[in-house]
């Protein structure tokens, strides 16, 4: 049985494991070369999640508590696609973020900024049949960190995606257009390819902006696509 593998990302479009400007990577990145693993059934399959498992409140982060969170309401939406621009339907998208003041609801976050009792900063949703997702949330604040002197992370929302297979699992971060901190951020800049970096910056979007309610930002996410199939001729691609 021939396996229809997933493509590997183009050279320079993914970060290397060790990126010394991001200090935490120095002791945690593997030093030995990774072993190239051709895909097998184990890598072209992966976890799937059903709609029943989803919490319907998890896609509106402004309505998870008794009151409204402080900050600027925004709508973050987009599509999950593969490299052939085909929608990735019914796939789990998880997000987490700081509140408007730049503080996470996490015991390890010691930043001297207030927590918001009306904001947890966590959401999830399945994409629809067209690969679309949509979250209502608040714009996260920038916050200081200890990577280097006067280090501040640009405003960002973390995204975790599964895609159709173990091989397509992706964790990334979405940034905001025009953020003055982006050129100085070692995490944003860990990828060599400038165009690949810039695709992490969401687009301001009038189409999804709701008058007198919330600004819209669009962030499309692309997962690794598939190699041309040796299997199709043999008819094993039926699903």
């Amino acid at each position: 049985m021939n396996i229809r593998a997933y493509r590997r990302s183009a050279e320079g479009t993914q970060p290397k494991h060790c990126h010394p400007a991001y200090v935490s990577s120095v002791k945690r990145a593997p030093r030995k070369p990774l072993v190239y693993l051709p895909h097998t059934l184990s890598e072209i399959t992966g976890p799937t999640f059903s709609q029943e498992r989803m919490d319907v409140k998890a896609c509106d982060l402004t309505k998870q508590h008794a009151g409204s969170p402080l900050g600027e309401r925004i709508i973050v939406s987009g599509r999950v696609l593969d490299e052939d621009a085909r929608p990735v339907a019914n796939t789990l998208v998880e997000i987490w973020q700081a509140n408007a003041a730049g503080r996470y609801l996490h015991s390890g976050d010691q930043h001297n900024a207030p927590l918001d009792p009306n904001f947890t900063g966590v959401g999830h949703a399945l994409t629809d049949s067209e690969g679309r997702y949509r979250f209502v949330t608040i714009r996260p604040g920038e916050y200081p960190w200890k990577n280097h002197y006067n280090a501040w992370r640009p405003a960002h929302i973390h995204f975790s995606l599964f895609g159709p297979a173990f091989a397509t699992r992706l964790v990334t971060q979405m940034y905001f257009p025009g953020d003055p901190l982006l050129p100085f951020d070692p995490i944003f800049n860990c990828t060599d390819d400038e165009q690949a970096r810039n695709r992490l910056i969401s687009l301001f979007d009038w189409e999804t902006t709701i008058p007198a309610e919330a600004l819209g930002y669009r962030f499309d996410i692309v997962l690794n696509g598939r190699e041309a199939s040796p299997m199709e001729e043999h008819g094993h691609e039926a699903r």
Binding site: V26, R28, V35, Y36, P38, H39, E83, E94, W96
Partner: protein
Amino acid sequence: MNLQATTSQTVGPFFRIGFSWLYRDELAGPGVSGERVRISGRLVDGDGAPVPDGIIEVWQANSEGKYAHPEDWQDKRVEQGFSGFGRVPTDEEGRFAFSTVKPGRVPGPDGKLQAPHLEISVFTRGLLRRLITRVYFPDEPSNAEDFALNLVELERRGTLIAKKIEGEPGGLEWNVRMQGEDETVFFDC
């Protein structure tokens, strides 16, 4: 191909707020068939220091070697109560543990079966991309002919094979060393 896959970014230091809703340290519900195992170990960094902010994800076939996924073409049964997905955090000592059933053998290249194995993703602050590895089982004759183990130089294969814990039936120890002399084998996948 006309688009390029989105670049990976670190999970950051606080990602457990986003991952904890889906923690699952018992992969096999009651009634799921197969040999029960409990896999435990530690996640350590290049200094051998515990990584207290890690998360391990598991993907595996059931005891008959069937993945609960539409592309598994094998004429075998998907079992109720077993999705094959697990997600567990490390503790202050870098320890993690999960319980499951030993998977059956699944097809590999050239029409040969692979040895029983778990697919593993490691996430933690400091990783710009997830780490990918596998867990194999001790006393498993098929390990000798497993195609993925044979991609690895002999002296490093042991990092992928769990060890029996004496006095704990079904107990297996498997550690992840992110860097250093006895660095775990990680795959480019």
